[in-house]
Amino acid sequence: MLILGCGNRDRGDDAAGVLVAERLWVLGLDAQICSGQALELIDAWNGTDDVIIVDAVMTGGPAGKVWLWEGEQLPLPETLSLSTHGFGVAEAIRLARALDRLPKRLRVFAIEGSRFELGSTLSPEVMCAVKEVVAHITKALETAVPF
């Protein structure tokens, strides 16, 4: 399983995915930090069957809410894309689908953020959500491994 944490650590809650990836990497999991650009993502998951993407979103929901998209729920609505480059996670999934390069299993954890200004800090709600997603992913792994 590969975990790709997307975002920008200098833009407040946009750091959520990066922090999740860092914590999972420390725990010994195969986790990488990505800027979240579509081509980078497609490249990163090349050859991997089971991929988890973690990214911040802004849908208008309460800060810290965690969304999970999987399987038929993908691709994500374009409005969820937070990439400043305009060619982000949602586009990566659409493009990979067109090119038949989607991993067999792809899950997207999206953490609702509230502040994304350059130089701002992480909101406390998103900090809690980061811990929640880390716990969820590690727990899911425990059940997958029978010892």
Binding site: S35, H85, F87, L95, L99
Partner: protein, 432 residues
């Protein structure tokens, strides 16, 4: 609203360009009354950030100006500072810098030709929609871009905002073996680039030729990257140190980017068309021959054919990368010793989108007391507006939706790099 009075072509957010800008064209009857390429992305003040910093930081600070062409900023910065301090670089460092630039050109041109510009010619809103029908083409683009990324990562330490370029050389240089490992990929990329030229030649180009002043570097022996005199087809032939005597930046009310003009003449064109037209004889045979094969020979005055010229430059970049790898031997020292002292130095290098000018003035401690940066897109902005004035006049009889699409396509032909790409496109068309 319909009628023959005032009509407005308006693109509030230009898509498939690097950065945030909008387009506004006002048509009154058969006349184009106003053209504004509005750059509303905020000013970024990099020249001020540099003041008080040591010269060794300039390459890394200015690389942050652009995620697509950071190497151009690094190269203009280190060359300008080396000129200010009288530093001579090892011939192998010079070669490696050419390879570094090849990587950036491959990344940038593959991205623009296939992912940003081709959808215009094939009638798709974006590359994702195009991928459904042209899968092999998009796969080729992704692999080409990745090969460019590999070069940048190897020489620069990472793919985006590389960290290895230094005044005097590199912080770390690759081994011959590491470069040799790129050969297989680059040989594939060369063939793929030749296919790219032939593929772009099959596209349909609007017939729109203008009498441009083309401005590019020209070097006696090679297609230009980091060195050469700045020349034009109207007699300009200057050293980088004379740049500010001949070019002026103007502030226009509707744009946060300055407009650059040739003093006494006006707008001018930089980028692939200018380089190709002024340096056709310096292209390696493989690139020149494929250009001739598809009917491209200088002067190419049709802006829309810049997609073909970018493809020819992809061929050049792959062939040049292979040449550098054949000739490379690791330098005795990765970088020259560089003293702290006062000096002023200017340099111009060829970013994928055209010439990038840097000037630095340094004090006795090597701190930057003044910096000036003129990026390629601000040099093209005045020309883009001039082009749109001419081009929109030919489209007055067209339905506004199609005219808007065509004008956007014209802007994208420049591959404008406003700073980082936008995606959402909202087109508002008004008729009175």
């Amino acid at each position: 609203m319909t009628g023959r009075g005032t009509r407005t072509i308006r693109v509030d957010t230009l898509a498939r360009v690097e950065g945030e800008g909008s387009l506004y064209i006002k048509l009154v009857g058969e006349r184009v009354a106003d053209v504004k390429l509005k750059i509303y992305e905020p000013p970024r003040l990099f020249e001020a950030f540099l003041r008080g910093r040591h010269f060794s930081e300039a390459a890394d600070i200015t690389a942050r100006i652009c995620g697509i062409c950071p190497i151009a900023y690094q190269m203009s910065a280190v060359h300008a500072i080396e000129r200010a301090l009288g530093v001579r670089i090892d011939p192998m460092v010079r070669l490696l810098r050419r390879l570094f630039y090849c990587g950036e050109w491959i990344e940038s041109h593959a991205l623009h030709v296939y992912m940003l510009h081709a959808p215009d010619f094939l009638g798709y809103p974006d590359a994702i929609a195009m991928a459904a029908d042209h899968r092999a083409v998009v796969e080729r683009a992704l692999r080409l871009k990745k090969i460019g990324n590999r070069i940048v990562q190897l020489l620069g330490g990472r793919e985006i905002h590389p960290v290895s370029a230094a005044v005097g050389g590199f912080y770390k240089v690759p081994t011959q073996q590491q470069l040799n490992e790129l050969v297989g990929d680059l040989e594939w990329a060369l063939e793929a680039s030749l296919e790219t030229v032939r593929w772009t030649a099959s596209l349909e180009f609007p017939n729109f030729e203008q009498d441009y002043e083309f401005v590019a570097l020209r070097h006696p022996d090679e297609y230009p990257f980091n060195e050469g005199r700045l020349v034009s087809n109207r007699g300009l032939d200057i050293d980088a140190a004379e740049y500010e005597d001949h070019f002026v930046e103007l502030h226009v009310k509707h744009s946060n980017a300055l407009h650059s003009v040739v003093r006494g003449r006006g707008s001018y064109l930089v980028g692939p068309l200018a380089r190709f037209n002024l340096n056709f004889d310096k292209l390696p045979d493989v690139a020149r021959n494929v250009a001739l094969e598809v009917g491209l020979r200088p002067p190419v005055r049709n802006l829309f054919r810049s997609i073909e010229v970018r493809a020819v430059e992809l061929v050049f970049a792959c062939a040049e990368a292979l040449r550098v790898i054949r000739e490379y031997e690791p330098p005795a020292l990765p970088r020259a010793e560089v003293p702290n002292r006062t000096g002023v130095g200017q340099a111009i290098t060829e970013a994928p989108r055209g010439i990038l000018y840097h000037r630095y003035a340094l004090d006795e401690k090597g701190l930057i007391v003044a910096a000036r940066i003129v990026p390629p897109t601000s040099q093209n902005l005045h020309q883009i507006e001039d082009d749109l004035r001419e081009y929109a006049a030919r489209l007055v009889a067209w339905p506004l939706e199609e005219a808007t699409w065509k004008c956007e396509q014209a802007v994208r032909s420049y591959d404008p790099c406003i700073s980082c790409a936008t995606h959402a496109l909202r087109v508002v068309i008004e008729r009175e």
